[in-house]
Subunit: 357 residues, 2 copies
Amino acid sequence: MEGDHSETRGKVGDQVMQNPQALAALQDRLDNVSHTPSTIESLPKSVKRRVNALKQVQVRCAHLEAKFYEEVHELERKYAALYQPLFDKRKDVVSGAVEPTDEECEWHSDREEGEELADELKKKATIEEKKEEPAAEEDPKGIPEFWLTIFRNVDMLSDLLQEHDEPILKHLQDIKVKFSEPDQPMSFTLEFHFETNNFFKNTVLTKVYKMKSEPDSADPFSFEGPEIVDCEGCDIDWHKGKDVTVKTIKKKQKHKGRGTVRTITKQVPNDSFFNFFNPIKVSSDGEMDEDSELTLATDFEIGHFFRERVVPRAVLYFTGEALEDDDSFEEEELEEGEEEDNDEDGDEEEGDDDPKA
Amino acid sequence: MEGDHSETRGKVGDQVMQNPQALAALQDRLDNVSHTPSTIESLPKSVKRRVNALKQVQVRCAHLEAKFYEEVHELERKYAALYQPLFDKRKDVVSGAVEPTDEECEWHSDREEGEELADELKKKATIEEKKEEPAAEEDPKGIPEFWLTIFRNVDMLSDLLQEHDEPILKHLQDIKVKFSEPDQPMSFTLEFHFETNNFFKNTVLTKVYKMKSEPDSADPFSFEGPEIVDCEGCDIDWHKGKDVTVKTIKKKQKHKGRGTVRTITKQVPNDSFFNFFNPIKVSSDGEMDEDSELTLATDFEIGHFFRERVVPRAVLYFTGEALEDDDSFEEEELEEGEEEDNDEDGDEEEGDDDPKA
């Protein structure tokens, strides 16, 4: 095939080369096509040669860029340790392990100043009102259903959430991001920390996202920084009868010969957020059907979103403030043939954010 | 005004508070509105208080994030020094100061293997063809019009390019990016290096982009990393009659009393890329008309694009390879009332890229 192309081009090339006027005419025609990328083929050979030298230099730039990103990753790990006390504080307040002081709870907004005034007025009212307020129900521990609420608020996550997942996610206490060490291949891990519960024995469920952080030797210029290329879940040690990722169905079967009917039960996969911990594996030869590729791409997007947005800014997804910011997220590239979902509820779109000016 | 709102809410609040059943009914109704952000107002006061504590923690996170970005800037400056030898090599090849070796010019692609084969075949042809090739014209120095070609290829830049700018931009030898030092307010500078020419005396034209790298105390959660907030150009020392940013027009004026007519000449601004070095100043009170704001926003985008894309990957914009990558760029936010320009030529869109996974 390749031989054919070159021979054909060689033949045409010969004809043009043998006719300097034809060559000049061709060159003129090519030069006058303004507003299209410079046609490299029309450049003198000595110049093309130098352009190739610049491409070699550009490959070296791509490799240097990879080293830059390794150091950014290092910086992220360093800062993860600095954020940790703040996230630990968050965890303690959410779980109710620590009650924040009045000073720590000060937050000024127009709305809340109004509420504070209303509260003061109420205090001056009769004591009977206080007696009517039930004590324990009105005084929940920490911030109940903090992470579950975030899942409900964020479309990308609520898409994964099934009704049977909710009682389990009420036990989710914290989500942490861990970064790979310098000597390891680049990756990050999401840790979902659960309080003791009746559903599974694990206290932590993990999802590792593996990254490619070097330019592709076959296509070095497509390198735009590290990207997620694979992921790995974990085994969930479900208590008996509690595994929401499977369901039991009954099937009637008729014996072909005898005609008798029997009922068998079988387990089939069930939709659940907890399938997140049992992702499709990237096939070893890199070839996958389109559906699997899309599912995996969505999974990678979710992992990235947890890392970049949800974990760093959880309270803002709890209150909904961060959802209004989602105008700054890029639109998702859709596969050919797919239509965009137009939200009727609102304009909630999630995506990832890589702010580096 | 604020007082009014709170008093009204206080009245309604009183009525609800005095009636626990009404309160419960309200809470039920609010709880059943799924898929909307948790209505914080409906939370028990003790929980709201803890949410406010988390918001305070989030402000501390935002300030820590600002420090992270300062360190990323440091890293960028460190790497700018490491890229510099590669960009110096580029400059030398472009200007023709240094001729790359054959080894440095090796570049393998299907197309070029075909060309190499065609070349070999031609070498075996008669010597007469060689005599017909003019020597000096076919052997230009370096890569002529390297940066001008990039301006022509890239929509965002060709939009600024006027015909009278082109002879000047042929003298553009290099564009460098410099990063502010740690002790200075965060900024970056674009340096446009020109060879000696008949248009102006400067050898370097500069554009400084100043950045805001701290969260806004009034709105700490909108912080998404450093952003360009201002810019500063430089004076161009034009040779007489060569200033392309002004044009002279003649106007006929009739004397009101005497009726005699005279012709005056006046200088008015002229469209030119070189107005890039004389940008609109951000007004001191922060208030600007919409047009000026849009012009400035576009300027900032261009500055960012030079820094993030053009300077690091110039050869790929010269060949046009980087233009195909532009699918990954986000769509620009348009002002209300503006329509998108649909390119008929192709799908060339530029934007900025902040890759940090």
